[in-house]
Amino acid sequence: MKILDPLENFSKITELIKNAEEFVVLVSPYTALEGFDSLIEAINNTTERNVKTSYYVREDVGIEGTDVLNVDIYEVPGLHAKMFFSEKEAIIGSYHLKNTDEINWGYVLDYPEEYNEMKDFFEKQIKKLAVPYKK
């Protein structure tokens, strides 16, 4: 895996979403996308491209800020992990999808074993507990 230049933390996620052809999973306990127009556009365009995007937030408190998104949203109790992946690529980070000046790192997982371990964590620790959010 390779650490990202912090200036690219969000642009790389936008790229990952644009490159996806089958699905995108975004795990961000909290959300604040104001000012991230290209990221919002990339997420919402997946629906038109028939790419299934699932967005996971923390139960009760994580819904705030997701009203600009036109994708399937799921709530997970106690969620604090962050990970972003498609069928092709994966990024893990210390950051939520929030437009802030906070100091955060992100890593691109560039080996299949790393991708598989991350996906395994997602399937076992997050997806199992997720409940679709109904507006």
Binding site: M1, K2, I3, P6, V76, G78, L79, H80, A81, K82, M83, I92, G93, S94, Y95, T100, D101, E102, I103, N104, W105, Y107, L109, E114, E117, M118, D120, F121, Q125, I126, L129
Partner: protein, 135 residues
């Protein structure tokens, strides 16, 4: 890079502290160490044996929750990254050092390149903006 079994998240960090012979760097914007006596004991034992333990928190309220440990405490504005390393081992996590049931992952960095990238991130983005907490 390898994901830690979630049941071993805390133990993996304790092992890193116990293995250190020169220094330990703990970067946790927020903390709640209450109930983590094994972790606190490991830190205090390291300090007592001459290992330099530096603990970085977020400016403002990040210094609460770390009562009972003997470390060099630093504050960093807008800190949100989490990382824990010594001269030998390195871990990254989505979680703070906080005793709660939140869903978080911990990864062990296995290659020297991965460890060096993490230390470089710390030296470039965290250490230069850190200031000693005087209480």
């Amino acid at each position: 890079m390898k994901y830690v079994d979630v049941k071993e998240n805390l133990n993996s960090i304790i092992s890193m502290v116990e293995n250190a012979e020169e220094y330990v760097v703990l970067v946790s914007p927020y903390s709640n160490l209450e109930g983590w006596d094994k972790f606190k004991n490991a830190i205090n034992k390291a300090t007592k044996s001459g290992v330099k333990v530096d603990y970085y928190v977020r400016v403002g309220d990040g210094y609460t929750g770390i009562e009972g440990i003997d470390v060099n405490l630093f504050e960093v504005p807008e800190l949100h990254a989490k990382m824990f390393y010594s001269e030998k081992d390195a871990l990254i996590s989505s979680g703070n050092l906080a005793n709660n049931p939140d869903i978080n992952w911990v990864c062990i960095l296995q290659t020297e390149q991965e460890k060096n990238e993490l230390r470089e991130f710390f030296n470039n983005h965290i250490k230069p903006v850190a200031s000693k907490y005087e209480g």
